[in-house]
Amino acid sequence: MLSKYRILLPVVSLAVLLALTFWMQPRAMSYFGLNLLFNLAVPIALATIAQMLIIMVNDIDLSLGAFVSLVACVTATYLNDTPALGLLILVALVLGYAAMGAVIHVLDLPAIVVTLGMSFVWGGLALFILPTPGGAAPGWLRAVMTVKPPLMPMAVVAAIVIAAVTHLLVIRSGIGTVLRGVGGNARSIARAGWNVAQLKALAYGLAGLFGVLAGMALVGLTTSADANIALRYTLLSIAGVILGGGEFIGGKVSPVGAVIGALTLTLAASFLSFLRLSPDWQIGAQGAILILVLTARLLFSRRGAAA
């Protein structure tokens, strides 16, 4: 019952914001305009999905932004110069994420701490690779991110594809169901004979995979990288998951919502720049709009359920 409302709020907030944006800036209502509004939301959506996969198993990832930055650095250097080595590194990074999940479970460590520590590690590695901004996006990646499909701009197509694939993976598939179960009640999953360490490794590994995709997509758009390029994705992705109707504990997440949450966050920033506020208040207005959008949750929250 709740899961149905969970998706309603993000959809409504995005629609309202989009309508307001179109009203203020009719130019945005075009193939070209939509692409400009949303193409930088694609890597954010991928990162939000990665964060969602971690939140789904009741953990939280404070290292995601640093990880995406590292991936961006690898993509703009090794993947471009020596593709085979670059690919190898990226695969190793995904495996590293999976290992992190397993270690967190087996040693019963708090994820927030381990990922906090890992954020320094990823950040340091990124600085090794690119001590100064630079590198270049591989041509094919640039082509993928700037392709102009018919009817709908790349950004919209990508968002729909990401949402559909992850919905199938997380909500519809059997293994996705079990992974959500880990967030709901890990003990009963273990009692049913599943190896929870493996499941956590899988969830983290998938998160790593989406983190890698986020980093690659980002480089495809920006054409180059630096060690700090995606640091804000950590908090942005958390906000996106929550905006998308997810909850921090209990395995209650919505991939479609997460993608919409990422789009909403991106759009909110654009909407504000169309408002032309005084520079003093531009930063604060971002906070205010975040609060405003989330306040709509109140309308849907179960009244009286909380203590």
């Binding site: 708090p110 340091g124 600085l127 930063i283 604060g284 971002q286 906070g287 609060i291």
Partner: protein, 311 residues
């Protein structure tokens, strides 16, 4: 609780090791200087860390991301009100603490009235506080009154004054957590909010007080830091976001809530300063420094938890 190995020990051991490793470079010369610097700068991390610890004790999902913005806002407003005039230190302190009170109440209002998850609420609110700080002073750096600056950089019995402040605050926090009814209420709320409420704990009052406390701690740290470093800067709190969380977890408090640890926060605050100093002293580049810091944090957490789960 009794019977447990002491998880806070690890932070102190690590701090000691970093201290020794740094002095290994100089064959022991400069020990006093290094200890003094660690206490000075550790004090700020300790103060915000204790605030963050109280919030984290409230249970999963509770964390205050507005600490840097609150530090900046409090520092900015206090220094602006004082305007370098002698004898205004107490007025400035009052303004800073009032700012903390306001920030804490605003944060809690968002969390309670609008039912926003604390992470998001404090993150969004911090952007507004940042704007307020920019608007109020446009980044101008006003010097603290001379007496206040002398106090903030001064020492008593060889220990920096700011460290004394942190120590007193730690003592008060420890008594509050371990001996007072409020502390029990806080710990109970952190384990299971609903069960605590049904056991008669006034949970909303506890939560409100906690969010106010962290903001007041941050405001005090901002006031002291601005006085210590010769004026408030718009970015002066930035590094205390991750720092405040790191010192809590390195200090051995359970991130799952309901369990916290004051001595650990103090040790971890010293450690966070000393480890950077150690790596700087060994001439590590930014990348190496970052990787090693991360690795050491994880190692400490593993060591502390391995000790805990095998009683």
């Amino acid at each position: 609780m009794s019977g447990f190995a002491k998880p806070w020990l690890w932070a102190w051991i690590a701090a000691g090791a970093a201290f020794a490793a740094t002095l290994g470079l100089t064959a022991g010369r400069g020990a006093g200087e290094l200890a003094y610097a660690a206490m000075s700068f550790g004090a700020f991390a300790a103060i915000v860390g204790m605030g963050q610890m109280l919030v984290i004790t409230l249970g999963p999902g509770n964390v205050d991301l507005s600490i840097p913005a609150c530090m900046t806002l409090a520092g900015t407003l206090a220094l602006k009100v004082m305007g370098s005039d002698p004898g205004t230190a107490w007025l400035g302190l009052a303004v800073a603490l009032a700012t903390g009170l306001g920030v804490g109440l605003a944060n809690f209002a968002l969390i309670w009235l609008l039912r926003l998850p604390p992470i998001i609420a404090t993150l969004a609110a911090s952007l507004i506080y940042q704007s307020l700080a920019i608007w109020s002073n446009r980044g101008l750096r006003i010097k603290p009154p001379e007496g206040l600056a002398d106090f903030a950089t001064g020492r008593m019995l060889g220990v920096p004054n700011v460290a004394w402040v942190a120590l007193l605050l730690a003592l008060a926090t420890w008594v509050m957590l371990e001996r007072s009814v409020w502390g029990r209420w806080l710990l109970a709320s952190g384990q299971n909010l609903r069960a605590a409420r049904l056991a008669g704990v006034p949970v909303q009052a506890v939560r409100a007080a906690t969010y106010v406390a962290v903001a007041v701690f941050a405001a005090l740290a901002g006031y002291l830091l601005a006085s210590f470093s010769g004026g408030a800067a718009l970015n002066m709190g930035a590094e205390y976001l991750l720092m405040s969380i790191a010192v809590v977890v390195i200090g051995g408090s359970s991130i799952a809530g309901g369990n916290s640890n004051v001595p650990g926060v103090l040790g971890a605050a010293l450690f966070m300063f000393l480890v950077v100093s150690m790596l700087n002293s060994y001439g590590a580049g930014a990348g190496v420094k970052s990787v090693l810091t991360g690795a050491i944090i994880i190692a400490i957490v593993i060591a502390a938890s391995a000790r805990r789960s095998r009683p």
